[in-house]
Symmetry: C2
Subunit: 308 residues, 2 copies
C-alpha cells in the first residue's frame, strides 16, 4: 500500500495529523530514566527506555512519531542500535515512524544511505520492522539524492520528506538567497517535480515524495502549498519552535489533508512547563500523554481550519 | 595543536596532499574478503576487514584517509560500529581521518551530531581515538549547523569541511541556482565568513572551517580559491569522478598548500582496472597500494603545479 494512503488511513483512525517527535537528551531525562555518570552503552539504554515510555504514552493518540537520528547518534553505534529498536517498538504499537535523518549525498553514495535507512533489509538478521516508513532528506545534491530513496519507497510503500523551508531563522541566510523566487521556492519546484510521476502518487492524490515545510507565516505557507498540490508536507516547529497555528493551517490542502504537524520538545519534556508540572507532579510520562492529547486536538483544529 | 597545522605537518611528512577515500561496497569486495549470504553483522565485519587492509596498504603513503559513513550505515548499527573502529585503527597507524558524514540540521539538533561525530567523548567506554579529526558538513541551515562543530573543533584541534561546490553534475540544478553569483558562490562566502575568526586560524594561515570544493574547471576553481584564502579545501572526485588535474591544481594556494585531494574508488577498487589487474593478479590489496602510490605522486604534482 502506498505510503501516503497508509498515512491517510492512520490519520483517519486517530483523527489527527499530529506527530510526536522523539528528541531524547540525556541531561533532560526525567530522574527515573536518568543514570548517574553512565557509559555510552548505559546512556543509550536510558534514552531508549525513555523513548519506549513516550511511545507507550502516545501510541493510541497519534498516527505517527518522528525519531530524530542526531539524538541517538550522540551515543555512537549504541545510540544507533537504540534508534532502530525504537522504530521497531513503535511499529509493534501500531505507529507509523518517520526517521528524521536529513541525509543527502551524491547518487553513488545516496544509494547506500537508502539501503541503511529505508530499503527492505537484505539480511536475515535484520527485521523490516526496524526500518522507518519514511525519512527526511536534504536534497541539495539534486535528484541523485532522492532517486535511490524513491526506488526503495516504491517497492515497500514507504516515503520521504525533502527539506524545502526549514523552521530555523538561521537558515534564512541560505533559503532566502536568490531574490524574489529564493532557494526555498526553487527547492519546492524541484521536490514537486521529483514526486510527480504517476507511479509515485497514491489513491489519496499525494506523492511518496514529500516536503519539510515550516509554517513560517500563513501567506508564504499558502503559496508553497498551492504550488505543490500533490506533495505531502511534514510541518516541523509547532510548540517549542513557535510556529503559529494559522501558518501551520496554511500547510494543509483545502480538504484538510496533505500535512502532518510535528511537536517534539513541547510534548516529550512537557513536565518542564509549570502547567503540566502542576497537574502531573513527578510523573513526566503522564505529562507527555496529556500534552500529546492537547497537541493532537490542536493539530486536528489546524487541519479543520484549512477547510473553512 | 590546530587541525590545519596537524594536517600540514602530516602532508609534509608524507610529501603529498593525497587522501584515500574508503567507500566499501559488499558486492565489490575482493573474493577473500567477501562472505557468502552474510548476515548484517557478518557483512559489517567484512567491510571492516577490507577497510583495515586498505589502511595497512596506504598508511605510509598518505597523510589522511576519508571514511564515507553512508557505506557503513548500510549495515545499520553494526556498520556504524565498524566505522568507529576503522577510524581508531587508522589513528593507530598514524593517519589523520576525515569522517565523511555530510550532516546538517538546525542548531539544537546539530549540537547532538557534533557530540556523536566530532566532540571529545563524554563516556568512559569511548576512546577519543574513535572520533575523526575532521568531518564533512552540509551547511544549508546556515551558521547554526557549524557552530557546535566549531566549538568541538576549537577544544580538540579538529576541523570540518562544509559543502560548497559538489562534484556531481546532478547538483548543478541546485548549486548553479541564483544567477551570476549562484548558490555555490553564496555558500563559499558563508563558509569563508564562518571560519574567519582569529581563534579559528592555525599557524599555517588556514582555518579549522574548510570547504568541499570539486575542481569542476580550472577557472571556476581559481576564482573560488582566490576568494577564500584562509579556507582549506577538500577536493573530491579525482579518479572515478573524473576531475581534471588542472582544475584540482587550481584548488591549491600559490604556496602549494591549502588543499587535500581525495580519490576513493579508483584506489580501493584499483584491481578492477586492467592495468592493475595485469600487474597484481588476484592481489587486490597490492593493487590498492600501487594505485595509492601513483595517486600520491599525482596529488604532489597537482600541488606543485599551483606554485608555478
Amino acid at each position: 500500500m502506498h505510503y501516503a494512503d497508509r498515512l491517510a488511513e492512520a490519520i483517519s483512525i486517530r483523527n489527527t495529523p499530529a506527530v510526536v517527535g522523539i528528541d531524547p537528551v540525556l541531561e533532560k531525562l526525567p530522574p527515573r530514566f536518568r543514570p548517574t555518570a553512565p557509559t555510552a552503552v548505559e546512556a543509550a539504554a536510558a534514552i531508549e527506555r525513555f523513548s519506549f515510555a513516550i511511545i507507550e504514552a502516545v501510541a493510541d493518540l497519534v498516527p505517527a512519531i518522528k525519531i530524530n537520528s542526531a539524538f541517538f547518534e550522540a551515543f555512537y553505534e549504541h545510540g544507533v542500535a537504540a534508534y532502530f529498536r525504537t522504530i521497531a517498538h513503535a511499529h509493534q504499537r501500531g505507529l507509523l515512524v518517520i526517521g528524521d535523518i536529513k541525509r543527502g549525498d551524491i547518487g553513488s553514495t545516496s544509494e547506500f544511505y537508502a539501503r541503511g535507512h529505508l530499503a527492505p533489509p537484505a539480511f536475515a538478521d535484520v527485521s523490516a520492522e526496524r526500518l522507518p516508513d519514511a525519512v527526511t532528506l536534504a536534497g541539495y545534491f539534486g535528484f541523485s539524492v532522492v532517486a535511490p530513496f524513491i526506488e526503495a519507497a516504491k517497492k515497500t510503500g514507504r516515503g520521504m520528506y525533502v527539506l524545502v523551508r526549514p523552521s530555523d531563522p538561521h537558515s534564512d541566510q541560505i533559503h532566502e538567497f536568490g531574490g524574489v523566487r529564493p532557494l526555498y521556492w526553487h527547492m519546492s519546484e524541484m521536490v514537486k517535480h521529483w514526486g510527480a510521476g504517476a507511479d509515485l502518487i497514491g489513491k489519496c492524490g499525494l506523492s511518496c515524495v514529500g516536503a519539510v515545510v515550516a509554517g513560517r507565516d500563513a501567506a508564504e505557507a499558502h503559496t508553497i502549498r498551492n504550488n505543490m498540490p500533490h506533495t505531502p508536507f511534514l510541518v516541523p516547529g509547532f510548540g517549542a519552535q513557535g510556529a503559529a497555528a494559522a501558518a501551520v493551517s496554511a500547510c494543509f490542502r483545502r480538504a484538510g489533508d496533505g500535512a502532518i504537524v510535528n511537536a517534539s520538545r513541547s510534548v516529550i519534556y512537557a513536565i518542564e512547563q509549570p502547567r503540566w508540572k502542576e497537574r502531573c507532579g513527578d510523573d513526566a510520562i503522564l505529562a507527555v500523554r496529556l500534552a500529546a492529547e492537547e497537541f493532537a486536538a490542536q493539530a486536528r483544529d489546524m487541519a479543520r481550519a484549512a477547510t473553512q
